[in-house]
């Protein structure tokens, strides 16, 4: 039974999140002592994975020092990077495995908790079949752990169902790039942004979600580059934009089809490039014929003149880049949105050369690397398709099993939760994933978790999801195991081990290997270090698109990262893809793909007349499991606020700081209004990092993009009602309502 054993409040009392304001040892005490070592490694928050040096004394990370030589960020960090070091010695850190009891959780030995976990997984599979057990992985894990999880699911458990929280992040872009180019990676290094004459930023709150990329955009501007920003909210980078297009939520596709319409109407496309390097142009040209600026303006709310001007700016540049992120990807037509941007780049000959192309801004720490080596439900290591017989044969050989033993593709992350809800999946092992906060429709997620017959969690803090667990295995932070990550540029980087896991916590990789041994598959998991896992990963990826064979830890250190593909030990890596004019498709062509308009899965109506869109703030990371515990970060934005335009606020007689109840077709939340002119008046915004009654995902819906299976976080319909006063959650925080004001991004 996976119901929360005692009241959530008592679990929150014991396990937090408690905000910590001081480093281990306090500001004035032990932490003043000098560091013994500086460890050159990377930030764990966000897909840019900035270089950073961790100050270490004894077995404790006590601070940080900028790493100015690292070429991506030159020492720059956002506030999350500055405070990331505060996790290791945090009082909420799980130091022992925990087993659930009638009155909460008790600490247990590793033998007891691992034996219990393995036994329950075995019993469930014996009773309901192999596929009754699912694995959730995380894209914040180093690639060795992601690889190991994929192998653990398929070899140790033999289940089809493994997927990861990158399903909430990068899959729309990944699917689109595979369709267009045959490979899932940003085709250009970030240095290319400096060379572009025009950069179109589509649905990307760069300042808050990829802050270091701001430096690239500003340097591009200094060199004369023009910035076009598309977003329903005027995000901080809009202040310096040459054009701002305030697109209506969920209508991005119409805008990009409209831009292509204007480009083709005015004969601005690059005919030679299209003829030599691409396929499918005629069909795409036909598909945008009806999307004239007037039609697009009616759909998107962007003025026709802006559409004309943006199209001309983009097409007339010799070098243009389209950068995109979750704004366009978190939609039930997320793949189409990315494809439409790719079509724009292909039509204007912008790919495969310096300063030109399209790029996705990867969201999660190791969001790129974490999706390449086998924790996606349909992929094997090296970005190979699990359906491809050759890929299965190659992987099976590396794993020492027969290809038939590798299960077929399973469900994606949201589909797994739905299968749990309908009773098809009975047991779940979740690693570094907090679905109760991060999946859409939180009430549904909670109901599903309560139906699990066994629920195991591997994590370093007690997440809200872990409250439902039968067993919580105390795992490791990023800096507690050596490994690799891959950044949003496609640069493979080396994550150094700075310290051992504290107390009785263990490295995640040890935990999976021990579980495999108890499932009598230990012979396939003989590793004594993550380096051995990486060497197997290199072999498993060999010959695949994401070929890591030629990348060693030492080579990464020497070169400050190596871009994949890197097929041989003497290969320098591939910072920019397609420079030879060929895509990764067998025909070597870049594929135009037709995009078709569809309405959102949760349309606005007379009853729910307002668009709701969700996203991040700069001081918090994903479900907040880590960053809600760091006082300095929490104080910058302590509670979710409802961003609302003064004009809409006036209709509901709302003033700044008033409490307002937001209701969608699923559920409601009550939070404070933040009245700002920087959002469309038909749209409200809520950041999603909080749990329980503050969770924006109580309101969102489970409509998925049919190809990428990403949820439509960016478009829901809602209604507003002025609340009488603060809700329970606010009153219980400190006895009085939190005050917005200071520290609101």
């Amino acid at each position: 039974m996976a119901k929360v054993p005692v009241s959530p409040e008592s679990l929150l009392d014991r396990f937090g999140p408690h905000p910590a304001y001081t480093p281990p040892g306090g500001w004035q005490d032990e932490s003043r002592n000098p560091a013994e070592r500086l460890v050159k490694t990377h930030c764990c928050f966000c897909g840019q994975q900035c270089g950073i040096q961790l100050k270490v004394r004894g077995n404790q990370v006590i601070g940080f020092e900028p790493w100015e030589e690292f070429p991506f960020n030159h020492g720059m960090l956002c506030p999350k990077g500055v405070k990331r070091y505060m996790q290791g010695g945090h009082p909420d850190r799980l130091l022992d495995p925990l087993l659930r009891t009638a009155s909460g959780f008790r600490t247990a030995t590793w033998d007891e908790s691992l034996d219990f976990t393995a036994r329950r997984l075995r019993e469930t599979q014996a009773k309901y079949g192999k596929d009754s057990v699912a694995i959730y992985g995380g894209a914040s894990l180093i690639s060795e752990k992601s690889y190991l999880l994929g192998k653990f699911a398929r070899v140790a458990l033999g289940t089809r169902h493994i997927d990861y929280n990158g399903r909430l992040c990068m899959v729309s872009a990944g699917t689109a790039y595979k369709l267009a180019f045959g490979v899932d990676r940003s085709p250009l290094p970030w240095a290319d942004i400096l060379k572009a004459q025009v950069v179109l930023v589509a649905g990307a709150n760069v300042a808050e979600c990829a802050p270091i990329t701001t430096d690239y955009l500003w340097r591009c501007r200094d060199a004369g580059g023009k910035l076009i920003i598309v977003d329903p909210r005027m995000t901080p980078i809009c202040r310096n934009a040459d054009m701002y297009l305030p697109v209506r939520p969920g209508t991005d596709l119409a805008l990009y089809m409209g831009l292509l319409h204007v480009i083709l109407r005015d004969n601005l496309e690059r005919r030679d490039f299209i003829a030599q390097r691409t396929t499918g142009f005629e069909q795409v040209a036909e598909s945008v014929r009806d999307w004239d600026p007037r039609t697009v303006a009616e759909k998107t709310g962007v003025p026709p003149e802006s559409i004309e001007r943006a199209a001309h700016l983009f097409a007339k540049a010799d070098r243009a880049i389209a950068l995109h992120a979750r704004g366009v990807e978190h939609q039930s037509k997320g793949v189409e949105n990315c494809l439409a941007l790719i079509n724009l780049c292909l039509a204007t000959g912008n790919i495969g050369r310096e300063g030109a192309g399209c790029a996705m801004i990867t969201g999660q720490g190791n969001g790129q690397g974490g999706r390449e080596h086998g924790q996606k439900c349909d992929q094997l290591p090296g970005q190979r398709s699990i359906k491809d017989p050759e890929a299965r044969a190659h992987t099976a050989k590396v794993w020492g099993i027969s290809p038939e033993e590798i299960p077929q593709a399973g469900y994606s992350a949201v589909e797994i939760m739905e299968a749990i809800h309908r009773g098809e999946i009975k047991a779940l092992l979740s690693c570094c994933f907090n679905p109760l906060v991060s999946l859409p429709d939180a009430k549904f997620t909670q109901e599903a978790l309560e139906k699990l017959e066994f629920f195991g969690v591997v994590d370093f803090f007690m997440s809200e999801t872990a409250h439902h667990a039968d067993v919580v295995l105390a795992g490791s932070l990023q800096e507690e195991e050596e490994g690799i990550g891959c950044t949003n540029e496609g640069r493979v980087i080396h994550i150094q081990k700075a310290v051992d896991p504290p107390g009785n916590a263990k490295g995640d990789s040890w935990i999976y290997c021990e579980l495999a041994r108890r499932l009598e598959k230990g012979q396939y998991f003989p590793y004594t270090s993550t380096r051995e896992i990486y060497d197997e990963l290199r072999e498993a990826s060999r010959g695949g698109h994401a070929d890591y064979y030629g990348i060693t830890y030492e080579k990464i250190d020497k070169n400050m990262g190596i871009f994949w593909p890197c097929p041989t030990l003497d290969h320098p890596g591939t910072p920019r893809l397609f420079e030879d004019g060929r895509s990764f498709h067998p025909d070597g062509k870049h594929h135009f793909v037709v995009t078709e308009w569809r309405e959102s899965g949760d349309p606005v109506s007379a009853e729910f007349p307002i668009y709701l869109t969700t996203g991040r703030v700069v001081s918090q990371y994903l479900s907040g499991t880590q960053t809600r515990r760091i006082g300095g970060l929490l104080d910058l934005y302590p509670n979710p606020l409802l961003e609302i335009h003064p004009r809409l606020a006036e209709q509901y007689q709302l003033k700044d700081g008033d409490w307002v109840t937001v209701t969608s077709r699923r559920n409601e939340v009550t939070l404070q209004a933040m009245v700002v002119k920087t959002i469309r008046p038909d749209t409200v915004f809520i950041p999603y990092h909080w749990a329980g009654k503050r969770s924006a995902n109580r309101l969102t819906h489970r409509t998925l993009d049919p190809r990428s299976k990403i949820p439509e976080f960016k478009v829901s319909a809602c209604q507003l009602r002025k609340a009488d006063g603060p809700p329970d959650w606010a009153l219980s925080l400190s006895g009085k309502a939190p005050q917005p004001g200071k520290g609101r991004a």
């Binding site: 304001y21 001081t22 500001w27 004035q28 932490s31 003043r32 601070g63 940080f64 900028p66 100015e68 960020n73 020492g75 720059m76 960090l77 956002c78 506030p79 990077g81 500055v82 405070k83 300042a207 808050e208 802050p211 270091i212 701001t214 430096d215 500003w218 501007r221 200094d222 060199a223 005027m234 995000t235 901080p236 980078i237 809009c238 202040r239 310096n240 700069v618 001081s619 300095g632 970060l633 910058l636 003064p646 700044d656 933040m674 009245v675 700002v676 002119k677 920087t678 520290g743 609101r744 991004a745």
Partner: protein, 198 residues
């Protein structure tokens, strides 16, 4: 650091407050941030400004200090108050035209940005300018900023008080000095007389 200058550019600030968080990590004022950070008018704009002490040639804070506790070094850096002398009177807080100094009652002392003396004296950049992701705070060689759209100035006019600072403000290319007072734009020479009561 020889040959490096500090440039503040609010037009590039993205409001992330990385500088605020990083400043608090300093060895000399652990847990306390010396960065001044403002949301300008969040209702109307995302504009934000982060700034450090401007390190005036003739520091007003030092001039008004009754205890002679505020010193400017040969390097042009205006230091926090000398603890044995500081009487916590807040004259400096009230007088600084930029609003920089802060009194920390728990230390009974005025503390402010000293441009990371501990770092710049050993060849490192100040912490805030190292981590800032958006060039709102930068510590670079002057030739670096000539590549920018804006140009630097270090002349500020507060009424009749002209202040030249060590730290530069990036301003639109046609601006010579930053003036924040309508008086500086008035024609009347003897405006002070008009303001006198009869």
């Amino acid at each position: 650091m020889h040959g490096y200058e500090f440039y503040v550019d609010p037009s590039r600030c993205i409001g992330c407050q990385s500088c605020v968080e990083a400043c608090a990590e300093c060895e000399t004022h652990r847990g306390k941030s010396m960065i001044n950070f403002d949301f300008i008018d969040r209702r109307g704009t995302t504009a934000t400004a982060a700034y450090v002490c401007w390190h005036c040639d003739e520091p007003t804070c030092a001039m008004v200090c009754p205890a002679d506790a505020i010193k400017k070094g040969d390097d042009g850096i205006v230091q926090s108050s000398l603890k044995p002398r500081c009487i916590g009177c807040s004259n400096c807080v009230l007088a600084c035209p930029f609003g920089i100094p802060k009194i920390f009652p728990e230390y009974e002392q005025m503390m402010k940005c000293d441009m990371c003396y501990d770092r710049t004296s050993i060849g490192k950049k100040p912490m805030c300018a190292t981590v800032c992701p958006s060039q709102a705070l930068s510590y670079v060689r002057p030739e670096e900023v000539t590549k920018r759209r804006e140009k630097p100035t270090n002349v500020f006019q507060f009424g009749k008080q002209k202040i030249i600072t060590r730290v530069y403000m990036m301003v639109p290319a046609e601006t010579e000095a930053v003036s924040l007072d309508v008086l500086d734009y008035m024609w009347e020479e003897s405006y002070v007389v008009f303001a006198q009561p009869q």
